[in-house]
Each structure stands twice: as structure tokens, then as C-alpha cells.
Symmetry: C2
Subunit: 192 residues, 2 copies
DNA sequence: GTCTATATTCCGATAGAC
DNA sequence: GTCTATCGGAATATAGAC
């Protein structure tokens, strides 16, 4: 996209990656520029150079997540729908193993404290995930590979809710929660 | 419990109520003593008198929630299990109408930033809810009033997850989410 | 129990040198 | 692009008068 030498964006990328990690592990309002600068062994002024305001950094984190989600799901396109759902659960399981929660689960509680621009980005992310899963479920049911009651949209909301909250719950009661939940979830979808 | 004139605890009660509201609407790390003091028209020093540290206040909020949950569920004891589950969903729906999210959904993302004592209280709360619902589902299935696959414990985790995250989601995408989710959830449980 | 006043620390953000 | 230095503000918390 932007014309830029490879090393020029190196620091920038590291900052975004660190911010992503911190949002998921501590929450957007609970980390500071220092938390980013210190581990990267730079000064907070350097972070401000790349992202003048904290909201700018938050927006970039969400934007990259949307981009990542779209590229992932696009790679699953040729798989049967039930396997695509499995892939989705694996994304969450991987987050769990790294001690992360998903961005939605992290940013939704703080939603009202976010800048309007960042709120818009979070909404965009939510819609991207919900729309994709709705279509996946709809198609999967048509093909006879997935079974569920009610509309695909509502079922998508339920499944997203489960995956999100299972990460939250497992942070409190231990990581066995996410395994149990996702397995039962997939079993439900496979059962006629 | 404690020996104390009625008016002596009035301010204290108001502080806890305000803190509860703020935890649910903004998150534990995003509100300050000023946010509590200003609407009550007292000074932040008065808040510190009742709760020396913010963690003390947080613990009290969670403790009162545990107490409230136990007294609510105890009042439902004589109802059929399927109606008890409906009662539970109504608690969440009421939260949604007031723009609140549940305490677990609010505190779980920030869990690692909480003091050990507060973490312990949050875990206690999680277990109280999960244990109650597990037993309710187990009993309901025995009575033939509730229908689900898998263990009651895993199903309890799934339902709690759904209710929690539906509040989070509805904050971002709008409040229709919670209605759709809970209705489908109850329909699932009623279907043989 | 509540107040005024303040200590201390930290945060996001900016200015200007290099 | 990164640094040093610092501003302005806000947060938690405490001391001491009333």
C-alpha cells in the first residue's frame, strides 16, 4: 500500500503487535504507552511518533484484526462448511493457549469509553465475523452438513457468543472450559 | 452482621451501588473515585474512608453480587427447572435494558490486572453461578423438563457463556441480539 | 464521617535537539 | 525516527482539621 522501505515500518509493526497483545491480555484502558515502549526498548515518544493518540493505535489494532480475519476465512473457502466452523473454533483455541482473549471480548466491555472512530471499527469487526459465520451456517445447512434450529443469523450470534465468552470464562476458571465448550458446540451442529 | 446504625451505612451502600454500576458500564479500571464521589456529592476522601483501596471496593461489589445471586436463586427453588432457567435469562435481560453487562463479563477481561483477593472473589462468583446452573440443568433433565446433549456442567458453561457474551455483543451491535439469543437458547432446551 | 489539602505516581501528549 | 525533557492533568491514596 504505502511506499515505505522495509525497515521503516519494522518498529511500527512491533508496536501494533505489542498493542494487540496488551489489549487482549490487559484491556485497552489498562495498558500504557510505557507498557509498549519498555519491552521494545524504545521511548514512549517513539510510539507517539507512529500513533499520535492512543485511539489511533487502537484503530490500527482492530483494522489489522479485520484484515487477518478476512484473509483467514478466504483461505478456507473451498472447505466444507462444517470444517470451516472447526477452523474458526481453532482460531479461538489458539488464542486461549496463548493466554489471549479475542478482541471483541476485550473491547466490548470498554466500548463506551472508546472514541467514536474506534467504536465504529469495533462494530465493523463484529459485523465482519457475524456476517461470515451467518453465511457459512446458512450454506452448511443447505448442504446438509450442519444442523441447527432457528435462523442462521441467530445461531451465528450464539456460536460467536460461546467462543468469545469461553475465552473470558477460561481466564477465570481455567482453560479446560474452552475445550469442553467448543467440543459440545461442534457436536450440537453435527447432530441431526 | 456488623453493629451499625442505619444511617451510618447509607453512604457506604450508595458507594457500592454506584461502583457496581460503573464496573458494569465502564469497567473496573476505567472508573475513578471521582466518578463515584461526584454524583453522590461527596468528596473522594469520603469514599476512601469507607474503602481504603479500590480493590476493597471491588471486592465488596463482587461479594454483594454473590449474595444477591444466592438469594435470587433461593427464591426460585420451588419453581420447575425450566422456569428457573427462564428466570435466569430474565436477570440478564434486565441488565441489558439498563445498559449494564454482567459482572463476570466486565471483570474477566481485566482479570489479570486485579488484586489476588479480588481475583479470588471473582472465581467464587463464577463457581457459584456455574454450580447452581449445573445442578438446575441436571435436575431439569431428570424431570424431563429440559433437554440437552452432553454433561450438565458443559451445558451450563455454554449457557452462561451465551448470556454473558450476549450482553457484550448487544453493547456493540445493538440490543436485539440478546432477545434473539435468549429465545433460541430456551427453545433449544425445551426441544426433545 | 466528611471535609480541605496535598503527596505521589503515572498517564497521554508535545517540543525541540539530533 | 528516535531521543531527552517536560507539560498538564488525572488517578489513588493519606494527613489532619472539624
Amino acid at each position: 500500500m504505502r511506499q515505505m522501505a522495509a525497515n521503516m515500518s519494522e518498529t511500527r509493526d512491533k508496536i501494533v503487535a505489542m498493542a494487540d497483545r496488551l489489549v487482549r491480555t490487559q484491556g485497552f484502558n489498562a495498558f500504557s504507552y510505557k507498557d509498549i515502549a519498555a519491552p521494545l526498548e524504545i521511548k514512549n515518544a517513539a510510539v507517539h511518533y507512529h500513533f499520535p493518540a492512543k485511539a489511533d493505535l487502537g484503530i490500527e489494532v482492530v483494522e489489522q484484526e479485520i484484515e487477518k480475519f478476512r484473509s483467514q476465512t478466504s483461505r478456507w473457502k473451498k472447505l466444507p462448511e462444517d470444517e470451516q466452523v472447526v477452523k474458526l473454533t481453532e482460531v479461538f483455541r489458539r488464542h486461549s493457549q496463548e493466554g489471549n482473549i479475542c478482541l471483541m471480548g476485550s473491547l466490548a466491555p470498554d466500548f463506551r469509553t472508546l472514541s467514536p472512530a474506534m467504536q465504529a471499527k469495533v462494530l465493523e469487526m463484529a459485523n465482519a465475523i457475524i456476517d461470515w459465520l451467518t453465511q457459512c451456517l446458512e450454506q452448511g445447512r443447505k448442504q446438509g452438513r450442519l444442523h441447527f434450529k432457528g435462523t442462521a443469523h441467530t445461531r451465528a450470534l450464539i456460536i460467536i457468543s460461546n467462543l468469545q465468552a469461553s475465552l473470558l470464562l477460561s481466564r477465570v476458571i481455567g482453560s479446560s472450559a474452552i475445550r469442553d465448550i467448543t467440543e459440545q458446540l461442534l457436536a450440537d451442529l453435527r447432530q441431526k
